[in-house]
């Protein structure tokens, strides 16, 4: 169980990878060290035997070669052949002086195993053989010491490696333990969420380490999920509630009609009323579906094109100016010299503007002035629709964006409270911000309503 978890732990996998890498580097370094040390040791020995050769060879007086042979023999007698060799031969290879029996060896430096001389198990000697006058002088030194040194180095390296491996494994276990300790609350929270507890949140620990930031992000996502689910519940309830009223009316109308039918009265009026009621219900559904569809296709900007906002606004004003005039209002476009363009879905933006303008026309009294405007603020394109009607109190501004929400004062005007919800959906679809405010905050009677849609700047859109 523990091993299984350990094996699956990301930290352990990471540690294993690093460990492998470390081991590889370590092996390379060890081999390099070994080669370097062994090379250095051989060179030291070589230097020594060559120096010795030169010292001895310098003593040769060609007139008195017998003295020289005697000298060499004296030197050789002082030397233990187990440690160093001295051998002087004639051209035929017979021994003239030395501390070992003659043997064959090539010119110059070489390494030879000389089991006939050496006791123990390391027979290797480093030899240097050069002529001296008409004789051949061989100087040699056992490599046992150097080999011992090398061995010590190797053992040292092995110990270091073993220790490092142990430490790495220990570290990996500790690290994965620690990471698992940190991850467990996340897993537990997600289990709770999966079970339907949308209020569960990951406890925050060390502020500002990466895992904690991740927890924060997950918590934010959970907040949003909860908001959406709550919203959905709210909408479902609202829809059910909102539809009960017209369905009730419909049922009453039909009942009335069938009673009148029994009395042989004409029912065509009642049937027409029923049809209108159905149409109204149908329209509510239509609008709800449309909003849902826009929300569902968020971030699908297949239909996005570059839209000249000024001409879009002109079109809306052109369509609605007569409607406004007939309602006793005025509709005008704020003149602007700026050319404002946004990337967006023209049909959706059109419907958004239509909803805003129609709201002003339907929820404001006669003599209201409606103004549509576009400009840029800090590079961000803004479209706004303003009126000087009754406005929406600050406390209701969040609510009116909800589906099916209408102000008390609008109960008598037709509509189903979906206009601004669609405006919000279209704004969200374009990553735009929507802001409701008073047009004239100083006017208590008629503060008016200004709705501003702020689109992301060109730079943010890319």
């Amino acid at each position: 169980m523990f091993l299984d978890r350990l094996y699956r732990s990301t930290a352990v996998k990471l540690a294993a990878v690093f460990f492998g890498f470390f081991l590889f580097l370590f092996l390379i370094a060890t081999s390099a060290t070994y080669l370097l040390v062994s090379h250095e040791l051989t060179k030291t020995v070589d230097d020594r035997i060559r120096a010795e050769y030169r010292i001895i060879a310098a003593q040769l007086d060609p007139e008195a070669s017998d003295d020289f042979v005697q000298n060499v023999q004296n030197l050789a007698d002082l030397r233990d052949p187990q440690l160093g060799i001295l051998l002087l031969t004639n051209k035929a290879g017979d021994r003239l002086a030395g501390n070992v029996e003659p043997f064959q060896v090539e010119e110059g430096g070489s390494t030879h195993a000389l089991p006939q001389i050496k006791r123990g198990d390391d027979y290797a000697y480093r030899l240097y053989s050069r002529p001296v006058g008409d004789m051949q002088l061989i100087v040699g030194q056992s490599l046992e010491d150097s080999h011992e040194l090398l061995e010590i180095t190797l053992v040292n390296l092995a110990w270091t490696a073993g220790l490092a491996i142990c430490l790495a494994i220990l570290g990996a276990i500790l690290l994965s333990r620690k990471v698992q300790q940190r991850l467990r609350p996340v897993a537990e929270t997600m289990d709770l969420v999966a079970d339907g507890n949308l209020t569960a949140r990951i406890p925050r620990q060390n502020p500002n380490d990466d895992l904690d930031r991740l927890s924060g992000t997950i918590n934010d996502a959970l907040d949003r999920l909860k908001l959406l689910v709550d919203g959905m519940r709210q909408v479902t309830t609202d829809i059910a509630h909102d539809l009960k009223t017209p369905l009730n009316r419909l049922s009453i109308i039909i009942e009335d009609a069938s009673r009148e039918q029994d009395n042989n009265e004409a029912v065509s009026g009642k049937l027409e009323a029923a049809r209108l009621e159905c149409e109204n219900i149908n329209q509510t559904f239509e609008a709800l579906l449309r909003i849902a569809q826009i929300e569902a296709s968020a971030h699908n900007n297949a239909h996005f094109a570059t839209i000249d906002v000024a001409s879009l606004i002109e079109t809306v004003a052109d369509i609605y100016s007569d409607v406004a005039i007939d309602a006793g209002m005025t509709l005008s476009v704020q003149p602007t010299s700026e050319s404002v363009s946004i990337k967006g879905d023209e049909r959706l933006l059109m419907q958004m503007l239509v909803n805003l303008v129609e709201n002003a026309i339907r929820h404001c009294p006669e003599d209201t002035a409606i103004t549509i405007d576009t400009h840029r603020k800090r590079g961000k394109p803004i479209i706004s629709v303003a009126d000087n009607g009754p406005g929406i109190p600050a406390s209701e501004r969040k609510n009116v964006l909800r589906r099916l929400y209408r102000l008390e004062q609008s109960r008598t005007t037709s509509g189903n409270g979906l206009g601004l919800a669609l405006v919000k959906a279209v704004a969200d679809f374009h990553d735009a911000e929507i802001q409701l405010m008073d047009s004239d905050p100083d006017n208590r009677e008629r503060p008016g309503l200004t709705i501003e849609i702020t689109f992301p700047s060109k730079a943010d859109q890319q």
């Binding site: 579906l289 449309r290 059109m350």
Partner: protein, 225 residues
């Protein structure tokens, strides 16, 4: 006219069938996509009304396969969905019109009538005339009884749609789709306002009214009967 209905929901299909038969049309009715294609290709119809969601082969696929085999049969797609994308997809597949359920029978009728007239329109028409009212489609000018009438572009467009369908009903939704490019119903009297302006210009100054309102449905232009 001979009309093919491809619709799997029996009440809807019967509702359309009965309505069309009462108006004197000959109607064939099938309830799945495969039969729909076979009927449409083997028989000769003047028009087909096809539901978008069908068992087997869906409406858009039927339209595509009919158009693929070179059929020019006028087609009206019916659908429960009204999203802009659905509409565009239907029309791009080759349907001639698109109607969202539930619809009033008068709406379907108006669209069938408008479509039935369409072939004759293929010939380039440069001028439309109803009684003494003429529309010059090239110069975009309007005259009645020899008098020039100044129309705004959208008023001209509405009048053009009405006159192309002389004597037939053009519904409010048809006008909204074709002139305003609105695929939603506005909450204010956009169409009515424009029609009343149009009326003041083309009817008021003259003796006989040509532009008529059809209650709960739409408008029609013709010499009063």
């Amino acid at each position: 006219m001979r009309i093919l209905i491809v619709e799997d929901d029996t009440p809807t299909a019967e509702f359309i069938e009965r309505g069309l038969q009462e108006l004197g049309h000959v109607v064939d009715r099938v309830n799945n996509g495969k039969d729909g294609v076979i009927y449409a290709l083997e028989e000769t119809y003047d028009l087909a009304v096809i539901d978008r969601m069908l068992p087997g082969l869906d409406g858009v696929s039927i339209v595509k396969s009919l158009r693929g085999s070179g059929s020019g049969l006028p087609i009206i797609l019916l659908t429960a969905m009204s999203g802009v994308d659905d509409r565009v997809e239907g029309l791009e597949a080759g349907a001639d019109d698109y109607l969202v359920k539930p619809f009033a029978f008068s709406e379907l009728m108006a669209r069938i009538n408008a479509l039935a007239r369409r072939p004759s329109l293929k010939a380039q028409i440069t001028e439309l005339q109803v009684a003494d009212l003429t529309l010059d489609l090239i110069r975009r000018t309007t005259r009645r009884s020899g008098q020039t009438i100044n129309l705004k572009p959208r008023e001209f467009a509405v009048l053009e749609v009405l006159m192309r369908n002389e004597g037939r009903i053009v519904t409010r939704t048809m006008l909204l789709e074709q002139v305003w490019d609105f695929t939603f119903l506005p909450q204010t009297s956009v169409v009515e306002t424009l029609i009343s302006r149009l009326r003041t210009k083309i009817d008021k100054p003259f003796d006989t009214p040509l532009l008529h309102t059809v209650r709960n449905t739409g408008y029609s232009i013709h010499v009063p009967r």
